[in-house]
């Protein structure tokens, strides 16, 4: 191994246990982010003779023996064209500052020796980043995150699964300017890497991704175009360059109740999309999501609790002569109307309270609850059963994508709150089917902002950040401006990833620990390169990752253009055919002709929920047989006189 530099220390700039300076030749491969090794004594950088120190270059300087810039001006007689005609070239220096990554031996901790500097090779990178502890252990937990490519090297960098997915630490936060596809691509690649390398002894893992923008995550099961360089990187990282093998995509329905509200509606692909529809019970459990800060008060809470405990799913007498069994939004609407009518008509408008609840509180709760069924029609079914994620049967190494890009923001909050809450509940009971779930949430700026109101979603994200790692619930969050995300959400992320950053963002206090050179590099980071902070790494490390092996959203929409909404009958046929290829479209159309769409939707939902062997027969059964009207053969005339029965029978 050839030395590329030498550590220098002066009284003004001494070497310390955590920082040192070295010079290199003018022409060197070293740059900001490069990992170098300082070996004390010995030869060839082996460090046999003593201490070995690994460092990462954080700052670079070049200067000459010029006393002042004025000397150079005078030397060139003020003419820039003559500046290069100096009889002798001035002596130059390439002078670098490096932050210590690791010293061996670690004790006693001493200043960096003034030894020779070498470029780190693969083994050195592993040592420097303390990856040897989890890479070469009996139960390795290494997850490739990218390639360290500085100084002409090409060394894999690994994250420790115990610190990425729990239980030691967990969560990942990724920041970067939008539009470079860095954040989404990085998460997609990392998921592929986790699925390929998640150690068997840690159990089963799945991912739940919320697609909140356009078609971003709609084509994770379709192959994308990869360059040869990308393929080489996949090989180097030992991650298959294939799209995800198991993807389950869920999308709510449109307001018509049969067409899917997603951009993945191309006829070749739409069959794989599961509808996501919820009923009253699913919504009321998360009613707090629907109430804004002004609404949340003890009275509204008490009334919602009353509804949950005493009314929903039970036989309930409203006190005005009507018995209710509220199971759907339609039932709930009828219930409220009966109570309001009761107060106004039966009680003559003399009372404005019912069962200790004020009519204004009831009206507010009613409006919020019923509003969601209007604003999110298609996600929330007015009167029908729900179609949900498989809460007891999550599959190993499967991505569950929930497409809520076109859902009302309130509906997005509801979906997010309920899905994450259910994941947490199921993981607590160990009934989810997997041991760890990665939840990918983009736009954390929106869901967990540093300022703004305390929303239910924010509280839940904080809860995941702080308690999730014990349960196996891992948050992969992405945002444009890290400084605007709640400190506890960001701070609890064990692994921090940075893509290209905005200079304004880099000027915020959260980035003060970075050197000006590192900040400059972050501000100009190319696509495919990231800076990573991980509990094992004492300094941020720059890595390159290959383009994800899946079709990007924009490309997917071009290759598989979304189909226009189909008529109701065709949409029903399509959904049934997807469940059972034997279903004949004409049979279905005959069956549903003249039927009410609500009834058809309900039957369809029942089929989706039950997944019977004979789909058409079950659909027909739920829909019910048609009863033809009878033409009465006889008119209802008086009964012809019959002989009276002679005696009273009793």
């Amino acid at each position: 191994m050839t030395a590329i530099g030498k550590v220098v220390a002066t009284e003004l700039k001494p070497a310390t246990p955590h920082q040192f300076h070295f010079w290199t030749a003018t022409d060197t491969s070293v740059g900001i982010g490069a990992i170098v090794k300082v070996a004390e004594g010995g030869t060839g950088g082996t460090g046999d003779g003593g201490r070995v120190v690994y460092g990462v270059v954080t700052e670079g300087f070049a200067y000459s023996d010029l006393a002042t810039p004025l000397h150079d001006v005078v030397g060139a007689e003020g003419d820039p064209t003559r500046a290069d005609e100096a009889p002798t070239a001035r002596q130059q220096i390439r002078y670098w500052t490096a932050a210590v990554l690791r010293q061996t031996p670690e004790e006693p901790l001493q200043p960096v020796p003034l030894g020779q500097v070498y470029v780190a090779d693969d083994a050195d990178v592993a040592q420097a980043l303390r990856m040897d502890t989890f890479l070469f252990s009996a139960t390795p937990t290494a997850i490739p995150v990218g390639l360290y490519t500085s100084a002409g090297r090409d060394s894999p960098v690994y994250l420790d699964a115990d610190f990425l997915l729990g239980p030691e630490a967990a969560h990942l936060n990724i920041s970067g300017v939008s539009g470079l596809a860095t954040k989404t691509s990085a998460v997609e690649f990392l998921l592929a890497s986790i699925f390929a390398h998640f150690p068997a002894h840690k159990g089963r893992v799945a991912a739940v991704c919320f697609n909140v923008k356009g078609p971003d995550l709609c084509f994770l099961d379709q192959p994308g175009d990869l360059s040869d360089e990308d393929r080489r990187r996949y090989e180097r990282l030992e991650v298959p360059s294939e799209p995800f093998q198991r993807v389950r995509l869920y999308a709510p329905l449109k307001a018509d109740g049969v067409n899917l509200n997603t951009l993945r509606t191309h006829p070749d692909l739409v069959g794989d999309v599961e509808p996501l529809t919820w009923g009253l019970q699913e919504v009321v459990d998360y009613a707090e999501v629907l109430l804004n800060r002004d609404d949340i008060d003890a009275k509204a809470d008490a009334f919602i609790d009353f509804l949950r405990d005493r009314v929903l799913g039970r036989t309930f007498d409203d006190g005005f002569g009507t018995t209710h069994r509220v199971q759907t939004f339609a039932d709930l609407d009828r219930f409220f109307r009966a109570v309001f009518d009761g107060l106004e008509i039966t009680a003559g408008g003399r009372s404005d309270t019912w069962r200790t609840h004020h009519i204004a509180t009831m009206r507010k709760v009613r409006n919020r609850l019923l509003n969601i069924s209007t604003r999110c029609k298609g996600l929330v079914t007015d009167d029908g059963p729900s179609s949900d994620l498989p809460w007891n049967g999550f599959e190993d190494r499967t991505v569950y994508v929930i497409d809520i890009a076109n859902v009302d923001p309130l509906g997005q909050d509801l979906v997010f709150a309920r899905v994450v809450s259910r994941l947490r509940e199921q993981l607590e009971r160990r009934e989810l089917g997997v041991d760890a779930v990665i939840v990918f949430v983009d736009e954390l700026n929106k869901y967990a902002p540093g300022d703004g109101p305390e929303t239910y979603v924010k509280k839940m994200l904080l809860d995941i950040s702080e308690r999730g790692r014990y349960l196996g619930l891992v948050l992969f969050g992405a945002e444009q401006f890290r400084s605007q995300v709640h400190r506890r959400v960001v701070g609890n992320a064990g692994t921090q990833v940075f893509g290209r950053m905005d200079m304004d963002e880099l000027a915020t206090p959260g980035y003060q620990v970075l050197t000006p050179a590192t900040k400059s590099k972050l501000a100009t980071l190319p696509i495919g390169e990231l800076m990573i902070r991980h509990p094992h790494f004492t300094q941020p490390i720059f890595v390159r990752f290959p383009k994800p092996p899946v079709l990007r959203g924009r490309d997917g929409v071009e290759r598989f253009p979304p189909a226009a909404d189909v008529p109701f009958e065709d949409a029903v046929v399509r959904q049934l055919v997807r469940l059972d290829r034997r279903v004949r479209p004409n049979q279905v159309k005959d069956l549903i002709a003249d039927r009410e769409q609500d009834d058809v939707r309900r039957a369809l939902a029942a089929v989706r929920r039950t997944r019977p062997d004979d789909v058409l027969a079950y659909f027909r059964k739920v829909l019910g047989a048609r009863v033809e009207p009878e033409a009465l053969l006889r008119e209802h005339h008086a009964v012809p006189p019959l002989n009276p029965i002679s005696d009273e029978p009793y």
């Binding site: 069994r325 759907t328 009834d599 019910g624 009207p629 209802h636 029965i645 009793y650």
Partner: protein, 401 residues
């Protein structure tokens, strides 16, 4: 249009070992009598359509007397209200278990009554501008259950008649019979109908503003006492609904489904006497309380229940059974419902850490204080005597011999 909605007549129902002078079971005659009273009332009210929502008979093979009686009453209706169609569906009581058994209900087709036993029928009455979808219990249980929906664009008024159990109705007091077809709001879709006439639940009850159980005409099993409590609960929650007290049928004005409960005077009353709390009472004291309760009510020829809580076995044995037999002779049925005290766990025998173990004297005192005792014995004297014996024995053992 005025519609009469009846259900759960249970003609042929027999109960208690009491006969009429003609040898018929008294309760069977009672059930027939209220049926006749309902027919009398309908002949006065002159509904334009009559629906019977199942369980016209109590069994698939009712008594001959019940068949004849029903024939007479339907004949009265058909001749008295010649323009009024009658639609009858079979409930779970009068549905044959196998097809070859056949149904006695078909007999009444001879009177022009529209009968639905196995299959659902949609019967259109052009003169009333009304269609009735008659769905017997059997049709609901079939694999190809009919769609309970009106025909689009057909007559103005649409009425559904069916028989089954809606949601958790009657579960609280066990007043709904097990085994009925399951009904739900999704299945019925009340908003699509002008009126839904339901049968199976024996207390008049709405499940939607236009969907009602008419209830039975008599207090019949299951748990008639619970039905009385159901009615009382309705009265307490629904102020001003006293017109729904007792049993009867419903008169419904259509369109608009304005429901009027037509109470039918019962053949005899069900009297649930005020319960007695017998804890701490000896047999004589309890006899006195029972006599007091009975004397406060006119129990002769009525169906009576007296619930007595916490009666020790020994106390029950020593009651004045001659007097009780007298009450039973006076009433059509007198049910003295004696409930044993709930088993109590002996305290102090499984003392946890830190608790004090009972002394032998305390254990004996506790046991004798709870032990069943002959009525004439004074418990306090009895307990003191037992403790005295024990202490005497202890002293004798402790003295140096």
């Amino acid at each position: 249009m005025k519609l009469a909605h009846l259900a759960d007549l249970h003609l042929g129902f027999r109960q208690f070992d009491r006969q009429t002078p003609k040898g018929a079971n008294q309760r069977e005659v009672d059930v027939a009598e209220v049926c006749k009273r309902a027919v009398d009332d309908m002949l006065e009210q002159k509904p334009e359509l009559i629906v019977v929502a199942g369980d016209l008979f109590h069994s698939v093979r009712p008594t001959n007397a019940a068949i004849l009686y029903c024939f007479r009453q339907l004949h009265r209706l058909r001749t008295g209200l010649p323009g009024t169609p009658i639609v009858v569906i079979a409930g779970e009581h009068d549905t044959p278990r196998s097809t070859e058994t056949g149904s006695i209900l078909r007999l009444y087709e001879a009177l022009g009554v529209e009968i639905a036993v196995e299959e659902a029928r949609r019967i259109v009455f052009p003169t009333l501008d009304c269609a009735v979808l008659a769905v017997p219990q059997q049709a609901l249980a079939k694999a190809d259950r009919p769609a309970l929906r009106p025909e689009a664009g057909r007559p103005t008024l649409n009425v559904l008649v069916t028989h089954g159990v809606y949601g958790g109705l009657g579960e609280e007091r066990g007043t709904v019979e097990y085994g009925g077809a399951e009904l739900s709001r999704e299945l019925l879709a009340p908003e699509k109908w002008d009126y839904i006439a339901l049968g199976h639940y024996h207390t008049a009850q709405s499940v939607a503003t236009n969907a009602w159980y008419s209830g039975s005409l008599e207090y019949l099993p299951p748990n008639p006492w619970g039905q009385l409590q159901d009615e009382a609960a309705q009265r307490t929650t629904a102020k001003g609904k006293k017109d729904r007290t007792g049993k009867g049928y419903l008169l419904v004005d259509l369109p608009g489904a304005r429901v009027t409960f037509r109470a039918i005077a019962p053949a005899r009353r069900h009297i649930d006497l005020q319960p007695v709390q017998a804890a701490g009472l000896n047999a004589k004291e309890l006899d006195a309380q029972i006599a007091e309760r009975v004397s406060a009510a006119k129990i002769d020829d009525q169906i009576v229940r007296l619930l007595v809580w916490d009666v020790e076995r020994a106390v029950a044995r020593d009651l004045d059974h001659a007097a009780i037999r007298g009450y039973k002779a006076r009433a059509l049925n007198f049910q003295l419902d004696l409930r044993r005290p709930e088993a109590r766990r002996a305290l102090g025998t499984s003392a946890g850490p830190g608790s004090r173990r009972q002394t032998l004297t305390e254990t004996v005192r506790d046991f004798l204080g709870r032990r069943p005792l002959d009525a004439e014995l004074n418990r306090e004297t009895f307990v003191n005597l037992g403790v005295e014996y024990l202490e005497t024995a202890a002293r004798a053992e402790g003295e140096p011999g």
